[in-house]
Symmetry: C3
Subunit: 428 residues, 3 copies
């Protein structure tokens, strides 16, 4: 890195963060052993892709240590990946590992090192402290109790995939009934149930609702008593998972639209994570089965964006080929906000191209630079660092060198993208 | 910039330009006040996107100064954008503004400075002179008179969107009748009317015809007396704007094909600007309502390119994901020419990637590097400079460093792309 | 280039290569004159695109020298292209040409120089030696005899396009009958015929089968006695080339699936080259008529990848917009391997973006960096060099500078991508 980039990076790295999307379990936020870390789907799916049979690590009764040992038979195949660099960086910075390589020859010493650290009663706070993270958004099931943890530190977020896409499943309807006390047997009852969920979440410091969406989804305005939705619901109630695909899709559209209405009413930003096909590789490892069809357009959401002009939609797209549309929809629609670099687009090549596309064309108050998407706190540090290095590079190249901005001015832009907009958009 | 890039840029910046596409009004080519400049849709739509209500600036009877003042309540949100950098650069180079920042605190002094300059009777010529621009292509309505301005400086271009996509509108048909003296009540009459337009434009130094096209458009060969087109025209004549969408599309196809035939006959290059959906955000600010669906392919134009082998099609694509197709169609089809970096793809990140894709794979005599697309002359300078900086970078990196070319040789390639091909392709 | 990049490049350039895909004719692998080299479709189609009438070079009875002379009337229009740089580099490094430019003024001296070299009886071996190439994969018609050349040097590869997409053509069926002794008049007979081909190719050191696929292709599982396929085959047998398009596609699907089954059985990796539309420009020069529709998704191959978990699919995609899907399918599916940079994506701008996307996210043992796709041996050198320069740049930037890797470690990754994986995946 040049001196300027390095200097910008170091200053960006001092900013205390709010992580606006994660899958952290607030009851067990940090890892208990290296198995928790290397059980992250990135490592298991990449090791599997490189040749490791799934059974090697999904065998029942495997101890964490044994699982990690087996993984290291294959992790040498992925030491080129950016995902591997996350693990290496966190091992150095959080555990104090001092080597340059972790492989089949020395993993046990890192296992021990990690276990000692993780056994410390305040490990969770240490990680947050070392990572410079103040608050972390969760991904809560709609029937989560939201109790027993500090909602000031772990900010609730209502995840709505189950309601929208899995209402055909009797178990989902039972969960909805159980947590709301309302039998979801009519459109009215479902709407009332969703209302209760929003009330509950907002009463418990929720700051967003969120959903991941398949490429084919294209929501249209739905009346409360849509005949199409009524017929679809009847099919779902009668046939459950065997209902017609068309009924499931009609119901998905209706529920989605009602959720958007409540998000609007409760002023809860609605995170859209657009573009994933689930279970494309059904025999893949746990959480390593989803892929996508990149042929989608944000024009599918045009009606939605027009219908809810006051509802912020922080949007993540799965494929980088959709990023320019995201840039341009955020450039035109006041309620469209860019939100991080998601999953398959969360590698430097795509972050760089996508960030450059965004930073130079979207109002600066509408760009949320990054979120960790982490399942365990330890990953927040290296994932954000990856982003901050690229952000520093772009600020140095395009703003300081390219436009003659001072380092201070560039840093202020970086700060707004990294932190300021999370506060203003999610009202924190 | 490195010394080499800087040197290349400075030499490229000396080349006197012909701007092959603009929206300049030849009767009022330069701005009269800062309101003209900051009324450019880029500023109003970005300010609106950043939080400014549309009504703030579209209020009736607002003075230019008041409008500018209101905009500056929000322009701080867009000082990161490349569009803002255009305004800053032109303020420095055309008005002599000497600061680094124009904001709510100092805009009035810039307003004054600009007003003084713009009040000078030869301001238009000064701007052209300072910008190094010799000729500027216009975007003329089909019924423009083309009189009262110097067609040697402001080169007429027949814009055909209204004829192709809005013939259902009685007003458009009346305009066609009025300017040609032919009632457009049959296919034959419409064809005769279009013939008259071409004759008139070519008799008045027109050098191109042009059209912007929606993503779904996929023209096919049309006979003069197509039955489908006849039926469609009857629907349009009978129902006007309420005609079937299918009739409108059939008529669009027919008119488009006839226009291509006349362009071929009159040897007038046919600029295709591919990929825009109009009014995706109908409550956006003026000219800030259009977006797009990037799912299109140039294969939709395969039949057209094959049917008119001698007609040059200078092509602009709205989305960068279409650029590689453009590169490859220009690489294979002799009549496909790349034309500038359009609208949402006219920011450095996309220009860089798209230019690099083109310059290394398309014959050098088929690349028109850039056009301003400007509504006011003052924007030609900073927009072309943005392009020239990137062109200098690519020439330095790929040709001088990468292939050992001399600076002179690289500059010659740059000159051909910036100016030479405009002359040869548009026959100037 | 920086010193580090240069050093990495030089070391990468020492690695003896196996070229995993070419169109080399093993009976005439090297060129006999400059006409062979400049007859490569890249030069003829680009010259044609730049303005040269096809007839200028496709005239019957034209001598090689005359053809080259005519081409040089137009090659100045393409001296900016990377394809031209291949010719210049090979002229320097293989023929000893010492200038910087080859043009209409000096081409005859290069013609002479080349002719002298090519007249040497061991020219073929010299080229391989100077190019550092040990083995070259061929593209064999299914009825090639595979005799009369050294299959250790020229590795057979069963190309299956004709069987899959042209079985309606009686000539193709006759060829199949002739080389297998089985009349392809029923599904069973076709399957038996294909079995024989696999047996023959595998008995003759074939290491892959391969196919190029149009954008619309989306294979589904096919039973041996599929009724749909039976009906389709009857249509093909009865109507030949005039059979219904739907019959041709049904048959294509069936034959493709059977080929995949045999590839699986015979453990022959199945190269998929995805995305080309043939004859989009039917009046283009020889081999310069194909283009594409980039709207495709690898999800079209999801069923295939799931059905054959043990069959490696080295995949090339024609358009760079598909590359991120390729990265991610290779990241998830163990049997998906990335394979080179194909045709329209084989220029530095797209190689750079696509390679960076791959190298940081796919297990290192699943990336085959490059193949030449060459028709004549002389092109292997400059095409691989182009790739190696970019690979050196990425290794230097992302691994040495970015992650602190030693040069040795980076080089090891480069070696695996350039050569090691060809050995392991194709079992050489």
């Amino acid at each position: 890195m040049t001196t300027l980039k390095q200097s910008l990076f170091e200053q960006l790295d001092q900013i205390v963060l709010i992580d606006s999307h994660s899958h952290i379990n607030p009851y067990s936020a940090a890892s208990k052993d290296l198995g928790d870390l290397l059980g992250y789907h990135y490592y298991t799916e990449l090791a599997h892709s490189s040749g490791m049979p799934r059974e090697r690590i999904e065998e029942a009764g495997l101890s964490p240590r044994e699982k990690v040992g087996r993984l290291f038979g294959f992790l040498g195949n992925i030491d080129n990946t950016i995902q591997w660099s996350w693990f290496l960086e966190l091992s150095k910075d959080l555990f104090g590992f001092e080597g340059d390589t972790i492989d089949a020859g020395n993993w046990e010493s890192v296992y021990e090192l990690a276990s000692q650290k993780m056994a410390q009663p305040d490990w969770e706070s240490q990680v947050l402290q070392m990572s410079g993270v103040e608050k972390v958004f969760l991904t809560n099931d709609f029937d989560d109790t939201l109790s027993g943890f500090d909602t000031n530190r772990y900010v609730p977020c209502l995840r709505t995939d189950d309601l929208v896409f899995h209402l055909a499943n009797p178990v989902v309807r039972q969960r909805l009934e159980k947590c709301t006390g309302i039998v979801p047997a009519s459109l009215k009852q479902i709407k009332d149930g969703i209302d209760k969920l929003f009330k509950y979440f907002c009463g418990n410091q929720a700051r967003a609702c969120a959903i991941s969406l398949p490429p084919w989804f294209s929501p249209t305005k739905q009346s409360d008593d849509s005949t199409v939705a009524k017929v679809a619901l009847n099919d779902l109630l009668k046939h459950g998972l065997d209902a017609q695909e068309s009924s499931k899709r009609a119901m998905a559209n209706w529920v989605f639209w009602k959720i958007a209405e409540f998000a609007d009413e409760y002023k809860l930003p609605f995170d859209l994570m657009i573009g994933v096909n689930r279970k494309v590789y059904p025999t893949g490892v746990f959480q390593g089965q989803d892929l996508y069809d990149s042929r989608l357009s944000l024009i599918q959401y045009g009606e939605l964006f027009n219908a809810f002009p006051n509802l912020p939609f922080p949007i993540s797209v799965l494929a980088s080929v959709t990023n320019q549309e995201l840039v341009d929809y955020a450039w035109i629609f006041p309620n469209v906000v860019t939100h991080g670099h998601w999953w398959y687009s969360n590698t430097p090549n795509y972050i760089r191209h996508d960030l450059r596309g965004r930073i130079e064309a979207i109002p600066r108050n509408k760009q949320i630079g990054y979120y960790s998407d982490a399942y365990k706190l330890e990953f927040i540090l290296p994932k954000f660092r990856m982003f901050k290095r690229i952000l520093a590079e772009v600020l140095a190249d395009e703003y300081c060198s390219g436009r003659g901005w001072s380092e201070t001015k560039a840093l202020e832009l970086g700060r707004q993208i990294l932190r300021g907009n999370v506060e203003s958009i999610f009202k924190i």
